[in-house]
Symmetry: C2
Subunit: 385 residues, 2 copies
């Protein structure tokens, strides 16, 4: 379904691309504006008559809007099917669940791979730099276009959790509750360093063509695969890698060469190779840059609590994973301390797991319980039963 | 100085390349043999009349024999000048200090960039796969050629520490003491994963040319730089990166682009760019592979203690750094437990520092004291006074 700023009705809410008219461009944090803006989205469930059951889920760096249904490119299940579904913490029978592809992404929202209608060619590096705040502003525009004044919850893990924090800073009046999972209030030097390795790997690939690979009919697949491999290690804990792979070999005996001798090598190569089929290299550059630029306190004279001053009515849930070394529990505690200092209500739990950062994508009973319990308590307060 | 299996005299010990005759090839762990073998080395100090003061220093992955004197390519000081020098723990006034470039390296020892005398062309990928045990066997051949029966100490950090452990397993009768710093008894899944990222980055560079870049007159500089950048992050602690760089910018304000905005980006790019001037990409492939293959217990039915059964007379010192996440204190403790189980004398210290794995290259007073104290006690026992 394509909506050209059409009135949004309950019937056409399962997903599509929302095309904002030229007079509704996206104001960007850089000072520029971007338009025409398109935001691709998926929804699950129905908005109730009171419009009080909408939940916005914000995706992570390489995620997209295909949350709880088959991915159109990979054919794999949605990335959060253990959280979103019948009888699960987010239940389409009770919630109207919305997920948008972030601006800058490559699954239908405006991004560097989109065609610039002014030129008929892909934007490439002429696409403007975007930030987490810009992603959130585009989501807020869509939510408004959908006629939703207040979200029952905004939820996200990793970069999704950063969007949740940005929502609380920029649009607190539109939030009833907020769930921030495995995130951080800003990107650390080590986080930036890993992203820079990935960007350099992409830009080192001659098929990147200075960002103009689409016009040349090529793709920097090798560089993007290396970027994904380097990043993927940070998503897993050392313990999980050891448990899953250890030093197990692919075959009996060593190859005495540079083939993938160890299962962990083969696994990583697969992660890299499958990623390039579904992700655009320039989007990877733009979105990692948005993450690196993220430092929520910076707009508030370095005082994170000030970002949350308007959110005292919002109920917050902050969750971290004990073995997450990308965005550690210490960083979630920083968020909680700032929320407390701002006078916000925040519940916090560190989930004990050896699965690392990616635990929020995986079966983790304590995580499920924490989400379920928080959402049930908020539903009661919201009168959703 | 070039020695063609010449008698080794005290006068010509400052360094050079030792060329073993064709009838003294290197037996390799893979079952192959390699020859003619050349080993480049540097020495500092003089071998005493009793030949009892020789110390072999084993270098790390990207190190070389230029331990305590200006590097011939970079013009920078030697990599261990805070440990080796007058009044320092290893003192050329008292010790005869030897450091060899590992076999497979690119600073004069036989490696993939060396010319194969049989073809007159670089070996490239026809160079045989080498292991930590092969590096040590080549060192033992040189030590024997030098007429040294017993080393006062064998010392090394990181991959150098693995060589120290291998010495204790394979040539315990040639050792009086052994110092293993920031090492591990085997490469973990995470260690292998990082190396695989680096190798894939190199092999993705079209200028790698299937390993034949020398003949083509090119070098896979971009791929090697990315490999170095990814690895370099693992050498530092998150705390050190935060302390050194945090989110400090290169200039006032963000570039809103893909230039190096953050100081940590600029630092990493510099690390990558300067590395390619002094290191050979194929050597990087071979040596990382040797590290991945390292699992000392594997040759002893998985029982690490069995590797040290012959080393009960050797005095061991094991040192780790509290913020080292590449080869953690837990891994050093595994070594110490195995040494104890084998009945070896081992002293162990975890140095508290936030400098990460690379702390052994840096000013660290507690590390200096630990080295100094251990060596002084051993010197007394050895009668070196």
């Amino acid at each position: 379904m394509d909506d050209t700023a059409a009135a949004f009705t309950e019937r056409d809410t399962d997903g599509g691309t929302w095309r904002f008219p030229a007079d509704q461009p996206l104001r960007l944090e850089s000072g520029a504006t971007f338009g025409p803006l398109e935001i691709a989205y998926k929804t699950y469930g129905r908005l109730n008559a009171e419009k009080s059951n909408a939940v916005l889920v914000c995706h992570a760096l390489t995620g997209d809007q295909h949350l709880a249904s088959t991915h159109p490119i990979t054919g794999k299940p949605g990335w959060w099917e253990q959280v979103v579904g019948a009888g699960l913490p987010l239940d389409p029978e009770r919630h109207f669940i919305i997920c948008t592809n972030v601006v800058g992404g490559c699954m239908g929202s405006s991004g560097p791979a989109s065609l610039n209608p002014a030129t008929g060619q892909p934007y490439g590096l002429s696409f403007p730099m975007i930030t987490i705040a810009d992603m959130v502003r585009a989501q807020a525009m869509l939510i408004e276009a959908m006629g939703i004044d207040s979200l029952f919850a905004v939820v996200g893990g990793s970069m999704g959790g950063m969007q949740v924090l940005q929502w609380a800073a920029d649009y607190p009046q539109k939030l009833f509750s907020a769930i921030c999972i495995a995130a951080a209030p800003r990107h650390s030097a080590q986080n930036i360093a890993y992203h820079e390795v990935g960007r350099q790997a992409i830009m080192a690939d001659p098929d990147w063509r200075g960002g103009g690979y689409q016009l040349a009919g090529v793709r920097p697949e090798k560089g993007l695969a290396v970027a994904r491999m380097a990043a993927h290690i940070t998503y897993l804990s050392e313990a999980a890698l050891q448990r899953k792979f250890g030093r197990e070999l692919q075959r009996d005996g060593l190859s005495w060469g540079f083939d993938a001798d160890f299962q962990v090598e083969s696994y990583l190569r697969h992660q890299g190779a499958s990623f390039v089929d579904r992700f655009d290299a320039n989007s990877y550059l733009y979105i990692t840059r948005a993450l690196d630029y993220f430092d929520l306190a910076a707009s508030y004279d370095g005082v994170l609590a000030e970002a949350f001053r308007g959110a005292r009515h919002v109920r917050f849930c902050v969750l971290s994973f004990s073995s997450d070394w990308l965005y550690s529990t210490a960083e979630s505690r920083d968020i909680v301390r700032a929320l407390n200092a701002a006078g916000c209500r925040a519940s916090f739990a560190e989930i004990t797991t050896d699965k690392g950062h990616d635990a929020f994508f995986l079966e983790e009973p304590a995580f499920d319980s924490a989400l379920r319990g928080f959402l049930a308590a908020q539903a009661e307060k919201r009168g959703l039963a």
